[in-house]
């Protein structure tokens, strides 16, 4: 969801593991500090990133950490909550509205039961509220639904939607009681994958308050139009969509459009009765279009713990310098140090702040454009990718450019947090291809390249034998690539400068660097490059981030590295890998599932489908030392204001 990480802290997984144990031990032995209730917690928003969309069903335009994890999820609790206050990337039944779902009929039927929670207006949260979401989601993601948006406002949608996946892999769903429902799936799925990546997308919404087509209109069952489902032709296994999604003004789509348009009217957030009906621990009190947010406790919150602070405020900032100034002035309870200002850490600690880097569950990489007609064939060669990865000095980037805070990326599954069950033994062990310029040179030499340190290496032994350059690489082909990267980040610029220098100095790999704004790098890299429609404008593109596994909490990478996946920038397309991904989706039990995941990640850790880069933390958090409840921060970038208190 978020692509520019701010920076970093683990030097080695080993150290981290010890640290985590230490904290855990402390937690159990020390006495709880005396706390007082009340007080306002002021939380710094990211630079120029104020929350600007409240409806939890956010289309791609609004699908961001700022809008979801740090804003609407505080008011609208997902059916299944992921992450906990120990920073583990796991399902958290305690904070969820739903109980652990059960799977039956060879994992083709899901049975969901709800705890008996209430909306803030005192009405119960029922299966009808879950179906309300499912109806709107089905309508908004239906490829056959009429276009609703206009040039002056995009229509409703769901940013995490993957064609053919949830909810299109659901044949039917229906309530089996006030607090229970059941779903029939179109195939047998791995329960973990289905819970973590598919059911994780559901947020119950207050049907009895929101099911209307206009602000003045009566409440009805308009969304029910989407309940009857039909199979899409020519799909296998068959994919299902609503037979009547509705239009912009009728049916389920109409309701979604109404809520979407209300959410596009920022000036009305404060005081709009719609947003006053919430399930989460807090409810919106004040909101300005500049992004100032004040939330107060929801007195009817059914979960536990109940909030003790009297208000949770989110402050907007135009830049990270502005934020840092506020931090120095002491006006923030939770803020962050911009990486380049890390030298001020001790000063802030003296003035009553505690330092605590915030990590999330993702990995940092940049893609090769395998479809590039000239350079693509070179990048398709494993030996080249191995050589190139051996020139990426992750340890040094962390030490020198990330102020010492960062985790090396070993493969597609994050090794942070330490001990996370998803990281395979191979990945946890350390870098598969550590920095080794000598090895890079020998790999190239062994495959038919005349290495020209300081210049440009050329292929002198074309052909497909083991010691030759490889398929479609002509004699005289040069190791010269265009690397586009996002401007504006000091750390990223330094990393690219160092990589460019060492690659040419040692291995004769010439990188021609160019810069563009972040959004443009994204626009260029994710431009639908496939082998049938190749892109020739770029060889490598680095937007300075990678992928955060949220809400695809089970890190199988199907959305990034599978053939034809919507976020597969360079069209990495390898049958073995596709097979491995599929196996993680369909594994029948936990043992098989873990084995499939390890197979998948080990393969990619060795195959290097992308260039792995060190990962910095989400932010270098600084919080007031008298604030309790922040020893661990949300692994999926979520926040837990209900745990905060002052001592």
């Amino acid at each position: 969801m978020r692509h520019i990480p701010k920076l970093s802290f683990w030097r080695m997984a080993g150290v981290a593991a010890v640290a985590a144990l230490f904290v855990a031990a402390c937690g159990s032995t020390t006495t709880t500090p005396k706390t007082t209730s009340g007080g306002t917690v002021t939380f710094a928003e990211g630079p120029s990133a104020p929350p600007s969309y409240i409806f939890p069903m956010a289309s791609g335009t609004y699908f961001s950490v700022t809008n979801l994890s740090d804003f609407s999820q505080i008011m609208y609790v997902p059916l299944f909550w992921f992450g906990n206050t120990s920073s583990q990337p796991v399902f958290n039944p305690a904070l969820s509205i739903g109980n652990q779902p059960t799977f039956s009929d060879n994992n083709t039927v899901v049975n969901i039961t709800l705890k008996h929670w209430q909306w803030s207006n005192g009405q119960p949260i029922t299966s009808r509220d879950v179906i309300f979401w499912l109806n709107m989601l089905s309508a908004a993601t239906d490829p056959n639904a009429p276009a609703v948006g206009s040039s002056s406002a995009p229509g409703p949608g769901w940013g995490a939607a993957v064609p053919g996946a949830f909810p299109q892999n659901v044949v039917s769903y229906s309530a089996t009681g006030t607090y229970s429902l059941t779903m029939k799936l179109n195939a047998s799925y791995n329960p973990t994958w289905f819970l973590y990546n598919e059911l994780s997308q559901i947020t119950p919404l207050p049907q009895a308050s929101w099911d209307e087509l206009s602000a003045s209109g009566p409440i009805g069952n308009y969304d029910a139009s989407a309940e009857a489902r039909v199979a899409l032709p020519n799909t296998s296994p068959a994919q299902y969509v609503p037979s009547d999604p509705g239009t912009g003004t009728t049916g389920a789509l109409g309701v979604a459009q109404f809520l979407n348009s209300q959410s596009q009217s920022l000036g009305t957030y404060q005081g709009n009765p719609l947003w006053q009906v919430v399930s989460g621990p807090f409810v919106l009190k004040d909101y300005t279009t500049a992004g100032y947010v004040k939330m107060v406790p929801n007195k009817n919150y059914s979960g536990s713990p109940k909030p003790t602070i009297s208000a949770f405020v989110e402050e907007p900032f135009t830049s990270d310098t502005a934020e840092f100034n506020a931090l120095k002035a002491g006006s923030l309870t939770i803020g962050y140090i911009p990486t380049q200002d890390i030298t001020q850490k001790a000063l802030l600690e003296k003035s009553g702040y505690t330092f605590n880097p915030w990590y999330d569950f993702g990995f940092v990489y940049f893609p090769y454009n395998f479809t590039e007609p000239t350079t693509g064939p070179i990048m398709q060669q494993l030996y080249f990718r191995q050589a190139f990865q051996s020139l990426v000095n992750q340890e040094q980037y962390i030490k020198d450019f990330l102020a010492g805070y960062g985790v090396p990326t070993n493969g597609p599954v994050p090794t942070y947090p330490p001990g996370n069950p998803d990281a395979s033994p191979l990945e946890s062990k350390g870098l598969v291809y550590p920095y080794d310029p000598t090895k890079a040179v020998s790999l190239l030499k062994a495959h038919g390249w005349t290495v020209n340190p300081g210049g440009v290496s050329t292929c002198t032994k074309p052909g497909t034998a083991a010691d030759e350059c490889g398929k479609n690489i002509a004699a005289g082909a040069q190791l010269s690539f265009r690397l586009l990267y996002a401007q504006g980040s000091v750390a990223l610029t330094n990393e690219m400068t160092a990589l460019q220098s060492i690659a040419q100095q040692v291995a004769g790999i010439k990188l021609t660097l160019s810069t563009a704004p972040f959004q443009q790098v994204i626009g260029t890299a994710f431009n639908g490059c496939t082998f049938s429609t190749p892109c020739s404008g770029w060889d490598m593109a680095n937007w300075g981030g990678g992928w955060v596994y949220s809400p695809d909490y089970f890190p199988t990478g199907g959305e990034i590295l599978g053939t034809g996946a919507s976020s597969n920038a360079g069209d990495y397309s390898v049958p073995t890998n596709d097979h491995n991904i599929q196996a993680t989706h369909t594994a029948a039990n936990q043992t098989a599932e873990l084995k499939a995941l390890f197979t998948y990640e080990d393969y990619l850790a060795q195959q290097l489908p992308v260039v792995y880069m060190p990962s910095g933390p989400y932010q270098l958090t600084m919080y007031k030392s008298n604030l309790n409840g922040l020893t661990h921060q949300g692994i999926f970038d979520e926040v837990y204001p209900q745990y905060y208190s002052f001592s």
């Binding site: 380049q340 200002d341 030298t343 001020q344 040094q396 020198d400 450019f401 300081g454 586009l484 990267y485 401007q487 504006g488 000091v490 610029t493 330094n494 690219m496 400068t497 160092a498 460019q500 220098s501 060492i502 040419q504 100095q505 660097l513 160019s514 810069t515 563009a516 704004p517 443009q520």
Partner: protein, 306 residues
């Protein structure tokens, strides 16, 4: 207002040239030079420019440093005997970096000025000479582009084009040619009604001949003055764009990039990354402005003598 201000290049209203007679008399040029060198500031300016050119282009031959490949292991070293101005964030020697940055800054300044002036002169002269509907259309295009402030246009172009030193030159040139175009058109308008131009026409001289033999040579004064300011403006523009994050990618560098880089470490106390580059920019720009001003004064003398 620095680079930001297109009007900065306009000569004073009172100094608007009223046309020239194609003087070639040596005494006139000698007079102009004399007036120019009377101006102490102009001499200081010339001295600074000369120093900067030598520093940037000859300096690296005397003070040799590794500026192609970097070494992050020696990043952020404070000034010492080995590195008189310390090292930067990836371990380049900062003094050597400053020389390299100077090359690029001066090159961009001169090249952008040349492009701006060339395009501007031709556009303005053609427009002024053609008159009528062509003139109207050409000038409305200039007006429309001038209505977008210099920096605003640069940010827009900087966001559209990926930036390299060459693209930076083109982008700045693309925005900066408007003012010379206007100036030259004004000159041309007044020149084309002069007797000798009329005479050439009557005698069957081609438009091209009129343009290149009579009109353009007579606008040289205005052009040179303007070009001097253009160099100064381009150097500031590059710095400002770098500060806004639209800089040239490594290993290329320029003073602006070095300065804004240093500024991002402002709290870390790496003063040697900030002040030398800042000083280099300000000195150079001041120098070009001194020279430009003096040239303009000298040109006014020519006008008054007419």
């Amino acid at each position: 207002m620095s680079a930001a201000d297109p009007t900065a290049n306009l000569p004073l209203a009172g100094a608007l040239p009223e046309g020239g007679e194609g003087y070639r008399s040596g005494s006139m040029w000698r007079l102009i030079l004399a007036v120019f060198f009377e101006n102490r500031l102009a001499i200081v300016g010339l001295g600074i420019i000369l120093f900067m050119v030598l520093f940037s282009f000859v300096g690296p031959f005397i003070y040799r440093t590794q500026q192609v490949f970097n070494n992050p292991n020696i990043a952020h070293l404070a000034p010492s005997l080995a590195h008189p101005l310390g090292t930067d964030q990836v371990g380049y020697d900062n003094l050597g970096r400053l020389m390299l940055g100077g090359q690029s800054s001066l090159e961009v300044g001169f090249a952008a000025a040349i492009i701006a002036v060339l395009v501007g002169v031709i556009w303005g002269a053609v427009s002024g000479l053609a008159g009528g509907i062509i003139d109207t259309v050409m000038m409305r295009i200039v007006d429309a582009m001038l209505a977008i402030p210099f920096l605003v246009a640069l940010i827009l172009l900087g966001a559209i084009f990926t930036t390299s030193t060459l693209e930076l030159i083109v982008v700045i040139g693309l925005v900066a040619w408007l003012v010379p175009a206007r100036l030259v058109r004004g000159e041309t308008l007044s020149l084309r009604v002069r007797e000798y131009v009329q005479a050439v026409r009557v005698m069957g001289g081609s438009t091209r001949r009129v343009l290149f033999r009579h009109i353009i040579p007579n606008t040289v004064g205005v052009i040179v003055v303007n070009a001097t300011f253009q160099v100064a403006d381009a150097i500031i523009a590059v710095a400002t764009l770098s500060f806004l994050g639209i800089g040239v990618p490594p290993p290329a560098t320029n003073w602006g990039g070095e300065l804004s880089n240093g500024l991002s470490y402002i709290y870390a106390g790496y003063w040697w990354l900030i002040y030398p580059a800042g000083l280099a920019i300000v000195l150079t720009v001041v120098a070009f402005n001194f020279v430009g001003d003096a040239l303009r004064d000298a040109l006014e003398v020519r006008l008054q003598r007419r």
